[in-house]
């Protein structure tokens, strides 16, 4: 019944070939919505509520970019992607940016031709074991059965770790995190391994979280961040500096609560430049002067987003750790707004 779509596809195909050079920023402005790729559901990072409204740590980045570009944090079309479809969706232009807890690796950046614009969460692979197993270090796990998601970098990291420590393990392949929880709780494996943030979120759902411990070893680096296509640097700058604006806002003490009075003008010139009362940073990006103010007002600064979605007050209860500001001993650091 919708065969006209075929025609539409062909027509649009012709038009798009000419319009492809126009740039993502102009496309987004013309369309009036941002197409943002997210996961199909990951606790704390992206999930729809009962009304279908998306929320979470990664989702907040999408909303901040939409607020910066369009002035409206709700002008986002969330496109759920799976681990298999995410890169094609971005490469084909179905989405403008991907904020889907994706690890920044060499091959993804160079070979798959994407640009990671920054890191919004420093993660790493960890281990969870039942307390009564009596294990206090991952090096004592010789001969253990390990629940592991297949086809992920965690699988490769695990093999590397056990080989370099000269110990053996027996993998129990699982497909999803939910399945992993069930298998681990049913005793099908002694150890459950995935990203530490995922382990913490999983443990928080157990009936007796105290019966399970996270081992101290973190065996991999998993810097997660939003990414865009190679070759559109203007758009990459917009996403990169939106993320930096959230980070800088926390560093400078700009919150969603005090941003109103701060944007009236302060003694700190960097705050003034950030919020657009001084300088022309917005115009340089091709956005209006209040772009960063809008981005910060959409969900708060980086610290507020962290605290609201995955921080210690939430059931997931992640400490800032590596994700604290550099001034507090963490790795979260933004180049200056100048």
């Amino acid at each position: 019944m919708k065969k006209t779509v075929l025609l539409g596809a062909l027509t649009v195909a012709g038009l798009a070939a000419g319009a492809a050079a126009a740039g993502t920023l102009d496309d987004v402005k013309a369309r009036g919505t941002l197409n943002c790729g997210v996961t199909t559901g990951l606790v704390g990072f992206a999930a729809p509520d009962a009304d279908g409204v998306w929320g979470g740590f990664d989702v907040s980045i999408c909303r901040a970019v939409a607020a910066a570009v369009l002035g409206d944090s709700t002008a986002v079309e969330f496109v759920p992607t799976t681990g298999k479809t995410r890169f094609t969706a971005l490469a084909s232009g179905e989405i403008d940016m991907l904020a889907r807890n994706t690890t920044w690796t060499f091959s993804r950046d160079v070979d798959l031709k994407f640009t990671f614009v920054g890191i919004n969460y420093y993660d790493g692979q960890g281990f969870m074991v039942p307390k009564d197993l009596g294990v206090s270090s991952a090096t004592e796990l010789d001969g253990a059965t390990v629940c592991i998601q297949t086809g992920t970098t965690t699988e490769l990291n695990l093999a590397d770790f056990f080989r370099s420590n000269n110990i053996s393990y027996e993998p129990v392949p699982i497909e999803t995190n939910a399945e992993g929880q069930q298998q681990y709780l049913a005793g099908a494996c002694d150890v459950y391994t995935t990203d530490a943030s995922g382990l913490a979120a999983t443990r928080a759902t157990f009936e007796a979280p105290g019966d399970h411990v996270l081992l101290p070893e973190i065996i991999s680096k998993e810097p997660l961040g939003p990414l865009v296509r190679h070759g559109d640097n203007e758009w990459g700058d917009v996403v990169r500096w939106t993320l930096n604006a959230l980070v800088t806002a926390e560093e400078l003490g700009v919150t969603s609560a005090n941003i109103g009075e701060m944007s009236a003008g302060t003694n700190n010139p960097e705050i003034n430049r950030l919020l657009g009362t001084e300088g022309t940073l917005g115009a340089m990006l091709g956005l209006d002067a209040e772009w960063a103010k809008n981005a910060i007002m959409s969900g708060g600064n980086y610290g507020e987003i962290f605290a609201k979605n995955i921080g210690e007050e939430t059931p997931i209860g992640l400490a800032r750790g590596l994700n604290a500001q550099w001034t507090n001993g963490g790795l979260i650091y933004s180049p200056p707004f100048r």
Partner: protein
Amino acid sequence: MSDVSFVRTDMLPEQDPPGSEVGAIGWLRHNLFSSWINGIVTLLSIYAIYFVLAGILPWVFQSVWNSGSLTECREIMTATWGQTHGHACWGVINERWLQLLFGFYPKELYGRPILSLVLLLVAITPILFNMISRRMNWFLLVLAFFVTAVLMDASVFVWILRAGFAGATLVIGYQLVTLSGADRAEQIAQGAKRLPNPLMFTAIYPFLMPWLMWGGTIWPAICTAFGFVIGYLVLRFGKAYMSELLTMIVAVAAAVIWWLVLSGYVSSGLSSVLPIGIEAVQSRQFGGFMLAILLGVVAIGCSLPIGVVLALGRQSDLVVVKFLCVGFIEFIRGVPLITLLFVASLLLNIFLPPGTNFDIILRVMIMMTFFSAAYMAEVIRGGLAALPRGQYEGADSLGLDYWQAQRLIIMPQALKVSIPGIVSTFIGIFKDTTLVSIIGLFDVIGLTQAIRADTSWNGIYWELFAFIAFLFFIVCFSMSRYSMYLERKLQTGHS
């Protein structure tokens, strides 16, 4: 000779059968304990059933319905039963059942998919049950429209609709109640005018349904339907000027040219001049069980006719047609459905230029239809193969042409033989719709992952799958029962 005493001359009175052969005891003896092996098997089966039910029933019924999160569920369970093991937390279904049914379809528009479903049932009734009278079918239809009109926001136009449909419902309903079927048949035999064939609405429905589901202006639906009208007109009047084969080719070509070249401009032109329509809904917002039904209905509805054509094509004497059909069937059957879905979602994205917006649900529909059509073709070919050669020869000897022979003699028998296989394929493709969760569509399985990603419900597992199993069981079991009904109805053997 009458004093010969060893011949009984009078009948003995009838006696009741022994108590062990009738009533409950007799039934038990015959059916459950007819021998000692059967007795043991019966006892073991009863124990197995008890074992399963003893686990499931308390889980289902000693459960928590009102809670906002899994933690709250567990607190209530501990307070009520002292333990959390063996009790379901239906709070998640209570909170999310609308989402599981409709996905992200806008809440205020839920009436549209519901109306589509009701109209679907009305539209397929004359196909599924030919014993339902036309009056009954029209009554159901106008009743559905009347209820819709009542539920719509009031305006002058809506009041006219309400009055019109109320009148129609009353008139047909009154007739239904006062005039019995036999009397009506007599009236018709004496030349009373019949109601129009309800299959009219069935023919309109495929164009009405997408409009109701996706919304927007009504013109694309009308323009698409107009393509069929063009094809029909060419077929009807072209025969006077051209050979039959040529007419058919021209008809198809005219329709295709209309769809591909002209209808897009005409419908967008008409839409801008006369924007008659309803609120548009994006494909992204489709989801839940509604998506399964939508994909299932389209795949089932389109695959049967395509399957028939492919099965006939495979047996055709025309070499090109035959090889095309064999190639299509063997290729599609040789590839897993999940691969086809990945092609639909990923490969097409790479082939089509950036910015192309070829609706993802439409792509998936096409792939699922192809997939089930290939299987359908083989099932129907099995039915064709089961017919004795005499049937084909008999048709030829009556002087029927190819299409008449197929329509009147071959297909009715072949389809009847293939009913169990056809319905199995239907049920299979309906269940396969859950595979779309792998390409990121939020069907009912995909939604379970999204729901578990909510911090309130992280860690919940079996309750969601139990609910989904329940939904699928209803639909699949109905299809299975219907096929058994159809087999009984079409039974012509003497056994």
